[in-house]
Assembly symmetry: C2
Homo-oligomer: 194 residues x 2
């Protein structure tokens, strides 16, 4: 039993990994653990809108594990311009370390889910990526562009960076988000390019 206990207590550290978005009504930044929960709920809620038929359970499992590597690397805003290859290599090493606390078959199961999400080539991974990308945009839209303004992110950068993923996994969600982003641009909720 001890390996499982060591593993689940190691996961406590994801609660200390802060993102750039603030939960509605709170002053603090969101952490990657509560974010993982919320996008799992978003995936279950929106499954009928997935671009292709998906096994929602595998989507949920992928979303639960997709950020675990951040325990070692920290979160990086999706709008970072470069350094992604190094960052992803570090996250890959991190998930091998963290899931490696578990017995081998269970570790392999979780690591495979993490890779499936990262590669984004299955219908499940495309839908999972879509909800992961959409969630902070939905929070920003409800927050008057809080993290876009704090980080100098333009409307064009948001559309270019999250649009293709959301559209590929959940086209109706992208249609909704895109219309809202355009309204937010008119409302002045975006940053200027720094």
């Amino acid at each position: 039993m001890q390996p499982f206990i060591d593993f689940i207590l190691e996961l406590d550290k994801l609660k200390a990994v802060t993102r750039k978005t603030r939960p509605l009504g709170l002053d603090r930044y969101e952490n990657s653990a509560e974010h993982s929960w919320q996008i799992a709920m978003l995936a279950v809620s929106l499954v009928d809108y997935a671009a292709e038929p998906v096994n929602v359970d595998r989507v949920v499992h992928m979303l639960l594990v997709h950020d675990v590597g951040e325990i070692d690397t920290g979160d990086t805003i999706v709008y970072a311009e470069d350094g992604w290859a190094e960052r992803k290599a570090a996250e890959r090493a991190a998930v091998v370390r963290i899931f490696g606390l578990l017995p081998e078959a269970r570790a392999a199961h979780f690591i495979a889910l993490w890779h499936e999400f990262e590669e984004g080539t299955t219908p499940e991974a495309r839908f999972a990526n879509a909800v992961d990308r959409a969630m902070p945009a939905l929070q920003n839209l409800a927050n008057h562009g809080q993290s876009w303004r704090e980080n100098g992110i333009t409307h064009a950068r948001v559309v270019a960076r999250i649009g293709p993923s959301i559209h590929a996994g959940c086209p109706e969600l992208w249609a909704y988000v895109k219309a809202q982003l355009d309204e937010a641009e008119n409302a002045g909720w975006f940053g200027s390019r720094r």
Copy 2:
């Protein structure tokens, strides 16, 4: 699309519901959203140790929704001595309100999962309850009894309150936790009855 967006933003409020346990290494209290993520991970990790064969996906879905009613009611420490009937009635009303933001079929799906967890009569619900009860004990054991000492909870109260549920859903986990609780009692990590 709007009902789904209203729903997922409403869920942001669970990130503001604080529990009595502190994540390891952090000064703040844990919230119910990150807790829900962690116990979903614990369930997937420990599924081979469930007392009976379970559909792990339904266990995960139950755990993701089981605390959503706390958005309206707040969290109550499991060791509270009374008031449970009123508290559960309030939570029931809350989940009807919150899941009711969604289209009817999706709302009914989530509400049914919430009831299954609360009733605890299926193998999946028993296993889900076991990991939910075990997690704060595991955190306290790693935290030198932080929330037991802060809230004056005795060893006897912990064993009586969480033992039957953990044993019913995951007997090997209970054997592990019970041995650790006994060591913690010798180490003086429990509160005195107030």
